[in-house]
Symmetry: C2
Subunit: 287 residues, 2 copies
């Protein structure tokens, strides 16, 4: 880890001053309405990553609601986003003492200027700092080999065929037990596990966790399916403010049926806390 | 099962003609707007069950969208509902060939006639009949003893203290391994399992599954906590049209932390198909 420590000393980005923060920035246009620019840096082939979009919506909601931390964010993906300008329209649904609920939609523009809705989100926000210290979790962190034994985009065949800008923004190191798909030998199990960080060294916060839950290769690859696994709906619970350091992510699919599958993501921080839990419903690839 | 068969012959309600159907009925007032009456028959103490409310919203959305079956329904619970009149306002968000997305809110009236929003839902609907027969699930039905060895409301101490009308509408028989809480000896595990049916014998359909995922005693009881476990957010995936016959429901909590917990429900039909998966974020009782 000497190398990592050295990197940290020389070039580590910080929360608020990083690629992720710049690329998820939103600018207040008028009350509840934010302008944004979807960066081409977070694309997989030509599609903008759904977790990146979710983080941007989460940022807008955190600015428009009286509470700043996402507790539960439910997103329904409507149409495919493309790099370029976007507008986010938010609505305060309910304001409470400890929790508040809001809604947000991200739109992009057609050539004639009409807006097309990309994603709609319902979310409940609170204050993670205000949570009690009472922890009775029975969940255990996943067994993942040490980071230096795991495999990243530069360690072999390109994990995702084609040009995927997002691989340059992330530091994903997969458990070798879940990379069979990259060499044509998928395990057949609906499991994907690995270490997750941002390439510029920025530590995780609740907003970046919204990216993390949807930034690993899909479990469908290990189920032997190739191609796009478009998200229909993704709900994320942020359960704890993450400690600094790399995250561990475990994604599991139990039920691939009728052309659809669920993906359950658990995200663990360096202090062994379960910091995020998500579940998505996605269309299975036809391959 | 001879007794059950006899009951079925004499007094079985049917889908469309049952307590559940009558009590979740909605009446079109104008385009997208439905009047409803929250029945006191589905209350726990004084609170209207969240799954019952969800089924009512699901029915309104099924009538307003071009697709009739809920695939993914995300509900954020805002304020506590009470028996009495309500209005459901729906919006068509996107219409696609195989899926459509809608939004719905349930409101009740204050004495001065102003509306208070109780629940807001985002949902994606489709056609369960159109799904492929390709099933590669690795999920296994939970090990639950035969129905006649499981315990219902009439088999011992009242499972839920106080007057709970909903127990008369349901036929819930819990795995004896998960009823320790009813005799003051909770297991300490975040697990609740059992058989589920409607008391009048109506078989399950996608709408009643929206009730089922939130109609069991909370896992917090087996974690040794007493009192109310209010739902903040509940997302349900309906994965298959259920076969006739009793359902098996398994609810699991892994992460009780900071005053909140998640509850994951799996619902299995008599053909051993995983017909529904849900996850909710709830406030932990203080007890």
């Amino acid at each position: 880890m000497a190398q990592a420590a050295q990197m940290a000393q020389t070039a580590q980005a910080t929360i608020g001053d990083s690629e992720f923060d710049r690329d998820t920035a939103v600018t207040l246009r008028e009350e509840g309405v934010y302008d944004a620019e979807l960066s081409a840096g977070w694309t997989i082939i030509h599609a903008v990553n759904g977790g990146y979009l979710l983080a941007m919506l989460g940022r807008a909601l955190g600015q428009s609601l009286p509470h700043s931390d996402p507790f539960s964010v439910s997103a329904h993906y409507l149409t495919a986003s493309v790099p370029g300008p976007a507008v986010i329209r938010t609505q305060v649904v309910r304001t409470g003492r400890t929790l508040s609920t809001g809604q947000a939609s991200l739109f992009q523009y057609a050539e004639d200027g009409t807006e097309t809705e990309r994603i709609r989100v319902l979310a409940t926000y609170g204050d993670l700092e205000a949570l009690t210290d009472d922890i009775r979790t029975s969940a255990q962190p996943p067994a993942i080999p040490p980071l230096e034994q795991c495999l990243g985009a530069g360690d072999g065949p390109a994990p995702i065929p084609g040009s995927s800008a997002i691989t340059g923004r992330l530091s994903v190191k997969l458990d070798p037990a879940t990379v069979g798909w990259a060499i044509g030998a998928p395990s057949g199990k609906g499991e994907m596990r690995g270490w997750f960080g941002l390439a510029d060294g920025r530590d995780a916060d609740p907003l970046s966790l919204l990216l993390t839950v949807d930034a690993m290769p899909p479990t469908s690859f290990e189920l032997g399916l190739k191609g796009w696994t478009p998200t229909i709906e993704l709900t994320t619970h942020i359960r704890c403010r993450p400690a600094p350091g790399p995250l561990r992510v475990s994604i599991t699919t139990r039920n691939l049926a009728g052309g659809f599958l669920e993906e359950d993501a658990d995200v663990w921080d360096s202090a062994d806390r379960l910091v995020a839990q998500s579940r998505q419903l996605a269309r299975a690839p036809r391959g």
